[in-house]
Amino acid sequence: MTPISVVDIDYVALAPVIIVLVAAVIGVLLEAFLPEAARRSGQLLLTGSAVALAFLTVLIVAASRPFGPIAGGSLMLDGPGLFLQGLILLTSGTAILIMADRRVDPGGDAFAGRVSTLPGGEEEREVSRRGLMQTEVWPLMLFCIGGLLLFVTSNDLLTLFIALEILSLPLYLLVGMARRRRLLSQEAALKYFLMGALASAILLFGSALAYAYAGTIEFAGIAERISERTTANTLVIAAVALILVGLLFKIGAVPFGQWVPDVYQGAPTPVTGFMAAAVKVAAVGALLRVLYVPFGGMRWEWEPVLWIVASLTMLIGSLVALAQSDIKRMLAYSSIANAGFILIGVAAADQVGLSSVLFYLLAYSVATLAAFGIVTMVRVPTGEATSLEQWAGIGRRSPLLATAFSLILLSFAGIPLTAGFIAKFGVFTAAITAGALPLVIVGIVASAIAAALYVRIIVRMYFTDPVSASAGVASPSPLTVAGVGLGVALTVILGVFPQPVLNLVEQTSIFVR
């Protein structure tokens, strides 16, 4: 009988994940045992403190723990992983602030009172009359965040897949829980689930092929096996292709991101912001690790594919965004286009590329969250004013909100002195250093197209007279103000004084293999 080897686990290094997941379990128990009146505040307190504590723990771990594999080699503790964990917790925390707002919607928060009720039915009216709220969203959020934290530190293909499932399943539910336009929301959830399942299957299949090739699922082992080979093997090429597709799906790159507009439009807006920010950060983080660590030796194979995907993503994202009349769909396509810009940095495939991507993720995610936070505030009586028509003249009635949104849009457009400019400049220079000048030219063209789009919205807000169906601006609670304010402030600060953060990403941008 072989002895059972006990895996030595560094619980401190693992603490951020543990804190979030344990809090999620406690959250489920709270649902069962807390009286209904106390549930919401209890859940909020738990969720908020868990995320804040986990963020602090990340800082402590970063300062005190040696880098290297942890939890028996399933996870990797290194600079990019910790940076991404911190970023995920930061964006999740901001998303939670916006999610917790119950003032902008007179009916309650952004989620349906009872998701199980039939849309438009008698029961639903009864629920909204009693002002019920679905508090299960908070444990769901925590599970999802836990999955995200694992996703960016996974050190083998199986952990990667499990983390993907942990983060995806709660998301499918969260997408379907919108208070307003519930059918659209439920449809989005179903679509996301079906598509997500397909993508997961593709990723899993790719992982299986990689195992068949390398005889191991560990990243380091795969990398070693690839470096030993003399000729390329069809098996490993198929593995790379399928894993790449599975991850590009989550990132929303063209042509794998068709679900993005539908799902972003249907999901409750704070959840959309969370997906566009935290989930995208995690997906890019996982893609970076997978491409750089196990498949780094095959750079010459996957790089051209990324070039094409990045070009298509930027161009199609920007062009189609121009044709949108719905603000959430527009932001969805804009997030697709941004994914393309991120892929430019990924394709650079070196340390400068990695650090530029990390900076881009920070700049993009805080701005995106703030953008969706602002969308929740602009309302008509039936819900959010998602039609761009209804945004006419917002700048006159609510100059502060319009200024904030304009700053965010200018950052998306890459206008100097905003974070978006530094971020774009970073990925472009990284790509040029790596010899990808054509890709950068496509990027500049795409950003010129996109700029027209963003400026069009600014015009709509400032220079168009309000139409009769124009939206009003709900007075938000301090929670939303804090969330949006943080995003706007970071957008400006990172544009004017980017150096401390640039130094940080430069120091952290080495994967431990």
Binding site: E187, L194, L198, T234, V240, F256, V440, I444, T464
Partner: protein
């Protein structure tokens, strides 16, 4: 001390803009005055810097101030640094002095506009961006100001938002400027790739060791950028539409400052152009075409502001042409830029004063005989007129004549174009004066022209003073050549003709232009004649600049957008999506799911996976 003053010059307008734009209605009452106050402070700072610079010997005049290191990516270090030398000093003085006068004038012109606080906020923002543009010590920071100028001009052109045409014009200006910005951003990327730096000093030093194509490519890219911002052929179309903005804006942005940014860029990049004959030739060609293009359009337009816009394009063409001549021309390009800044602002403000008295009428065919009603406006306008057509001793004479001589020294073609432009300028400007101030009255029944208030007249008078004496002041003892030579270099070359002959021909051409202008416009019709020769028809349509732009940029863009959308909607998503509108009812929404959208998405996903796989396998074989 220098640092403090520089920051004062740069930050005062920025602060004004921030207070006015973010302060909301509370600042309505005192906002415009505060905007003028910060401009006054900036002007005082600029004059103090100028005084300090004059006391230093030429070699020690340039000063650089490093505020902090803005960003460092890889090997590239970009400072947030300011650089003040004789070239940027000239611009700073022009921007602050003319800018302040226009601010004061706007106090009267915009007195009745409910949104004038916003207007002044945008004006301050514009000035701040323009100052950053000329004070930056590297191309990336210059690009910040470049974009800022574009944004502020966009806000100002679209200021009359109740007019749909204003919004369209603003959008057009922005989009065409993007084409130019594209040139600048790619140029910066090329600098980074090849030279590894973007500061002016490092690029100037590094470009010398580069292979020949680098200065050529950079020169052409920067020319594209300059053409976009300076409304030079073929990116000129926005300038005419931009006249939709309030007239003080036209004076500030489209005469004195923004359109000069392109000339600044070319002269600032002298080290690059010095190394590429071809790039310089391209600059000369663009400038030459623009001289004639602008002048022809200016001759045919009845809208006084659009005629002046044509004139701006043409005069900037002179500067670009001069800049393309290399060291024999850089100094004169900037010289003409300064005098033009004064007399063109003067003319625009005069046109604004006429419009102010004529119920915002812009059609010169509805003017006539205003010299007797608006005497002061007429006198100041007349001085600007004499300056622009180049009558000695007014400012334009010295600067334009220098360019004509330098152009002749370069080649006969350039010289003849410059002469032709001078004649056309005299013709269309005479036409403008005839139709507006002389000839018989053709006013609309409800027009009651009156002289403008002193708050408008005084800035016009000061600008007129500048238009009258600035040229002489700057050529005295070759003051300006000595001033700018350390920065741009200066080589004097004699034209192939004796000076008296050059002067003679210039005066002859100008005189002929004036004569034609007078004779052809003794009795202008109140309605524009419809039966005109093809040249006039083409000129009225801005020589079909719009059609060309549409064909070159807009149509392909639209087709591309439409095609992408169609591909996305119809082919990829399935035909049903085109039918099912997003806002349809619940049944439709559900049916959309059943109708197989997910199926088609999945198809795309799987197809994508197959393509990626195939591509990777193919790459392996290759």
């Amino acid at each position: 001390m220098t640092t403090t003053l520089l920051l004062l010059v740069l930050l005062a307008p920025a602060l004004g803009a921030a207070v006015l734009l973010l302060g909301g209605r509370r600042t309505n009452a005192w906002g415009p005055l505060a905007a003028i106050g910060v401009m006054g402070a900036a002007t005082a700072g600029a004059l103090a810097l100028f005084g300090a610079m004059l006391t230093r010997p030429a070699a020690e005049r340039p000063v650089g101030v490093l505020l902090y290191e803005w960003l460092a990516v890889g090997d590239l270090r970009v400072p947030f640094g300011l650089y003040l030398d004789q070239l940027s000093m000239s611009f700073v003085l022009l921007i602050t002095i003319v800018g302040t006068l226009i601010h004061v004038y706007s106090l009267g012109y915009m007195a009745h506009d409910p949104d004038r606080r916003l207007f002044f906020g945008y004006l301050n923002l514009f000035v701040a961006a323009m100052l950053l543009l000329v004070l930056a010590d590297n191309y990336l920071l210059l690009y910040v100001g470049w974009e800022g100028v574009g944004l502020a001009s966009y806000l100002l052109i679209g200021f009359y938002r109740r007019r749909a045409s204003a919004a369209t014009a603003a959008k057009k200006a922005f989009l065409i400027n993007r084409v130019g910005d594209f040139g600048l951003s790619v140029a910066i990327m090329v600098m980074f790739t090849m030279i590894g730096a973007v500061t002016f000093s490092a690029v100037d030093a590094g470009i010398v060791a580069m292979p020949g194509w680098v200065p050529l490519v950079l020169g052409l890219l920067l020319l594209l950028a300059a053409a976009g911002k300076s409304a030079q052929f073929p990116l000129q179309a926005w300038l005419f539409d931009a006249m939709e903005g309030p007239t003080p804006v036209s004076a500030l942005i489209h005469a004195a400052t923004m359109v000069t940014a392109g000339v600044y860029l070319i002269v600032r990049s002298a080290a690059i152009y010095d190394l590429s004959e071809t790039a310089r030739t391209a600059v000369i060609v663009v400038g030459g075409i623009s001289i004639l293009f602008g002048a022809i359009v200016g001759s045919a337009r009845d809208d006084i502001k659009k005629a002046l816009a044509g004139s701006t394009m043409s005069q900037i063409g002179y500067m670009v042409l001069a800049a393309g001549l290399g060291p024999i021309g850089y100094v004169f390009a900037i010289f003409h830029l300064l005098t033009h800044g004064f007399f063109k602002a003067n003319l625009f403000l005069g046109a604004g004063s006429v419009m102010h008295g004529m119920n915002d009428e812009v059609n010169m065919r509805r003017y006539g005989g205003l010299a007797w009603v608006m005497r002061l406006t007429f006198i100041t306008f007349l001085i600007g007129y004499l300056a622009i057509i180049g009558v000695p001793p007014f400012a334009g004479f010295y600067s334009k004549d220098s360019i004509i001589e330098a152009a002749l020294a370069h080649s006969w073609t350039a010289g003849i174009v410059a002469w032709l432009g001078a004649g056309l300028t005299a013709m269309y400007m005479t036409r403008m004066v005839m139709m507006t101030f002389l000839t018989k009255r053709r006013w609309q029944p409800d027009a009651h022209p009156h002289e403008s208030p002193p708050v408008m007249i005084i800035p016009m008078a000061l600008l007129a003073l500048g238009s009258a004496v600035l040229g002489y002041l700057l050529v005295m003892n070759d003051a300006f050549e000595h001033w700018l030579e350390p920065v741009t270099g200066f080589v004097h070359e004699d034209p192939p003709l004796a000076m008296p002959i050059v002067y003679g021909i210039t005066f002859g051409v100008v005189g002929l232009g004036v004569l034609i202008g007078v004779l052809a416009n003794l009795h202008p019709a109140a309605e524009a004649p419809t039966r005109v020769n093809p040249l006039v028809r083409a000129a009225r349509a801005d020589l079909y600049g719009d059609a060309i732009n549409e064909g070159l940029f807009m149509r392909p863009g639209q087709v591309l957008t439409a095609a992408t959308v169609i591909t996305d909607r119809r082919i990829v998503d399935g035909a049903v999506m085109a039918v099912a509108d997003l806002s349809t009812g619940a049944g439709d929404q559900l049916r959309r799911v059943e109708n197989g959208f997910v199926r088609s998405y999945s198809l795309a996903l799987v197809a994508g996976a197959v393509i990626v796989l195939a591509a990777l396998l193919l790459l392996r074989i290759a």
